[in-house]
């Protein structure tokens, strides 16, 4: 009898493997990204449309996002789904971020060709030796807010004194700390800093007096929440908002980063970088001018956190972080860069101001020149925010 037992175990295992393998195949087919309806939508006559010659070999390029797919990255998804990358000879794979994924590290280790990262979150690891550089400053302003209920009377950083102040940590708190210092408060003793989850529950619960929020994400979330006292959605009038852009401690956020050395030594990589930035910025221009289409692309890319209405809100606010771009989309605003460095060094986030290799504008300038030559509006001076309907739960 004994003889049979190990055989039985092996046979069972084998059966499992076969079942698992066949399941796997089915699933792979099922999970192939269905062609999003947006892809087929006839794009408005694009100025750069050239009659496609015989298919050219596309160069494979990967982009590491800082977080999961959402409208924050709409321009990249639009460029992928609408064939802007193909138009410049690239086949771009967009890699989701995760809780433990640091885009700068992934980029430096060769896990991706390009990465999207906030400026401080790129500069800090760079100071520690990562060989990366900012090649296109997509967002021209900061989206970070400190939100409180209006009856708490917190209208500026000085009102935070003695309060319970939520923040996410992990480098998301720099603007807040600098804002406190700017009005003479000591972040260590004059306020109580509280680690906050990446949602607004603590504020709604009353566990904290002021919560950190991105204008395009958590701020929308709290507006998508039912006020238990009224049974209706919370209204913007219920909250006061500190915007670090107004306080003057805003730091630059989403930028495209590349491998610094490779740009110097590998002419092909630099050429790819120009084309990648050009097509990505074209995606962002498209999302400014084709709002609904881009929301659909994001929602279709993969089920985002927060539903379609939430993504629409985010698309609107993201556009407002990019446009207008006075120096041209993707071109670094030197004054805001200097402010970012000031905040970072005064907070001890950076030991010293980074050297000149921390960012370069030549690639973005080339890309912008190409886009302008093709008839695109790279400044967006007439951009105006839309009114987006807020729905419960963002659905």
């Amino acid at each position: 009898m004994n003889k049979q037992k190990p055989w039985r175990l092996l046979a069972l295992l084998l059966a499992f493997v076969v079942v698992a393998a066949s399941c796997g195949n089915d699933d792979d087919e099922a999970s192939e990204p269905a062609p999003s309806p947006a892809t087929e939508a006839p794009a408005a006559p694009e100025p750069t449309e050239a009659p496609a010659p015989e298919p050219v070999e596309l160069q494979e390029v990967s982009l590491q996002l800082q977080w999961v797919p959402q409208s924050q990255f709409a321009g990249f998804f639009a460029a992928r789904d609408l064939g802007f990358y193909e138009d410049v000879g690239l086949d771009v794979t967009i890699i989701d971020g995760g809780l433990d994924i640091v885009p700068a590290t992934v980029l430096d280790s060769g896990g991706a060709d390009f990465a999207v990262s906030w400026v401080p979150r790129g500069l800090v690891p760079r100071e520690e030796g990562l060989n990366i550089t900012n090649i296109a400053q997509v967002f021209q302003r900061s989206g970070t807010l400190q939100v409180s209920f209006v009856d708490a009377g917190i209208t500026g950083p000085s009102d935070l004194e003695g309060k319970l102040v939520g923040n996410w940590g992990f480098g998301n708190e720099f603007e807040l700390l600098a804002g406190l210092v700017s009005v003479g408060l000591d972040p260590q003793s004059d306020v109580t800093l509280v680690q906050q989850d990446f949602n607004m529950t603590a504020l709604v619960n009353g566990d904290i007096d002021a919560a950190q929020a991105m204008i395009y994400n958590e701020y929308a979330q709290v507006l998508e929440t039912i006020d238990p006292d009224t049974g209706e959605l919370f209204q913007p009038e219920d909250f006061s908002v500190i915007d670090w852009n107004d306080v003057g401690t805003a730091m630059l956020q989403d930028a495209i980063w590349a491998d610094a050395d490779k740009l110097e030594t590998d002419a092909e990589y630099r050429d790819i970088a120009v084309r990648f930035v050009e097509a990505s910025l074209r995606g962002w221009i498209h999302c400014r001018d084709n709002f609904n289409e881009c929301v659909d692309i994001v929602v279709g890319a993969s089920p985002p956190f927060g539903g379609p209405a939430h993504q629409a809100w985010m698309m609107n606010e993201i556009n407002a972080l990019i446009w207008p771009s006075p120096g041209g989309v993707g071109i670094m605003d030197q004054a805001l860069y200097d402010q970012t460095i000031d905040v970072a060094t005064s907070q001890g986030i950076l030991q010293a101001a980074p050297d000149a290799g921390a960012f370069r504008t030549d690639i973005a300038e080339e890309a912008v020149a190409n886009l302008e030559a093709a008839g695109h509006d790279v400044y967006g001076n007439d951009f105006a925010r839309r009114t987006v309907e807020v729905k419960e739960g963002g659905n």
């Binding site: 989701d96 433990d100 619960n205 089920p303």
Partner: protein, 325 residues
């Protein structure tokens, strides 16, 4: 005892034996049914009790108002009882039947698909972990010197927090694992994380199991002039099975945990890890969905545990019966 109409044929000892065996098998099946029913009922009753406790505490907290001083524990040490902190049980379970915005399937269906995705990652990791764990157990059982040298490292491997190794594995996977003939996918990194949690209990328990035969059994095999493989196959491996299955129950559930944590760390879309991260992010607007998705993960854990238990019954379950009949 056989009844009267079977007595006629009972003269034939072969027929009698067959009857007895059949009856035994029948009884065993009935016992199994009774046992499964009893366990299911107990489980459901206990679940009901938990739900009742939850609802009762919530109702009590609501009736006295959490922010009060007579019952300082309610709403401070214990959670607050409003719907944001403790969504009603009905709403949590009701979520399973609802269709989230922008989706074409009910929530239970979505969770099921995501559980299958996570199960695949976990199972791939579990299998590799089983093989590696058994290989380590065999090697350690064979060479005692190796046991002294290697075992501390095997144990040390489990003291490294998962969130520390997860990003390393993901980055390695993308960058360095192109030696494999297939293209490395991020979900495979998640499987590696599951493997990391799986191989340890298998190695440690497998080793104990392989060493479990008594010396006289070992000597018997030697007296038959059985070679190393025969001793392993006929004696040590069968003897290790009860130990091994105890380990596999731990390993199977650990592989699920590893896959979920790995998905969250690595940013892999499609499984329960991403689901839980998503619902945690959306907690403010939909707390019941986070509870529901965590229940989904728990069900998956219970499922793999039951599968291992069933396999154990098939493989070693008869041993006790055979020895008694």
């Amino acid at each position: 005892m056989p009844n009267t109409d079977t007595m006629a044929a009972a003269d034939d000892p072969l027929v009698r034996e067959h009857r007895i065996k059949q009856q035994a098998a029948q009884e065993q099946r009935r016992d199994t049914v009774v046992r499964v029913v009893r366990q299911t009922v107990t489980f459901v009753v206990f679940l009901g009790l938990l739900a009742g406790l939850y609802t009762g505490y919530k109702a009590f907290g609501q009736s006295i108002g959490d922010a009060q001083h007579d019952w300082a524990v309610v709403g401070s040490v214990l959670p607050r009882t409003d719907d944001l902190n403790m969504p009603p049980v009905g709403e949590i379970f009701g979520q399973f039947g609802e269709t989230p915005g922008g989706q074409d399937r009910i929530y239970a269906h979505i969770l099921f698909d995501e559980a299958v995705f996570t199960l695949r990652e976990a199972f791939a990791g579990f299998l590799v972990g089983l093989v590696i764990g058994m290989a380590i157990a065999l090697a350690l059982a064979q060479w005692r010197r190796l046991e002294q040298g290697l075992l501390p490292y095997v144990i040390a491997s489990q003291t490294i927090p998962l969130i520390a190794i997860a990003p390393i594995i993901v980055i390695w996977g993308r960058k360095n694992f192109d030696v494999f003939p297939w293209e490395w996918q991020d979900w495979m990194s998640v499987s590696v994380i599951a493997t990391y949690l799986t191989f340890f209990p298998v190695a440690v328990n497998g080793l104990r199991g392989l060493q479990s035969p008594r010396p006289e059994n070992q000597e018997l095999m030697e007296s038959y002039a059985a070679n190393w493989f025969q001793t392993l196959w006929r004696l040590r491996l069968p003897a290790s099975l009860p130990y091994l299955f105890a380990a596999l129950k731990i390993a199977a559930t650990a592989s699920i945990v590893g896959a979920i944590v790995g998905e969250i760390s690595a940013g892999v879309e499609g499984g329960l890890g991403r689901r839980i991260l998503r619902e945690a992010f959306n907690y403010t607007t939909g707390p019941d969905r986070l509870f529901a998705s965590v229940l989904g993960a728990a069900v998956l854990g219970i499922f793999v545990f039951l599968v291992v238990t069933a396999v154990e019954r098939l493989v070693v379950g008869h041993q006790t019966q055979e020895s008694t009949t």
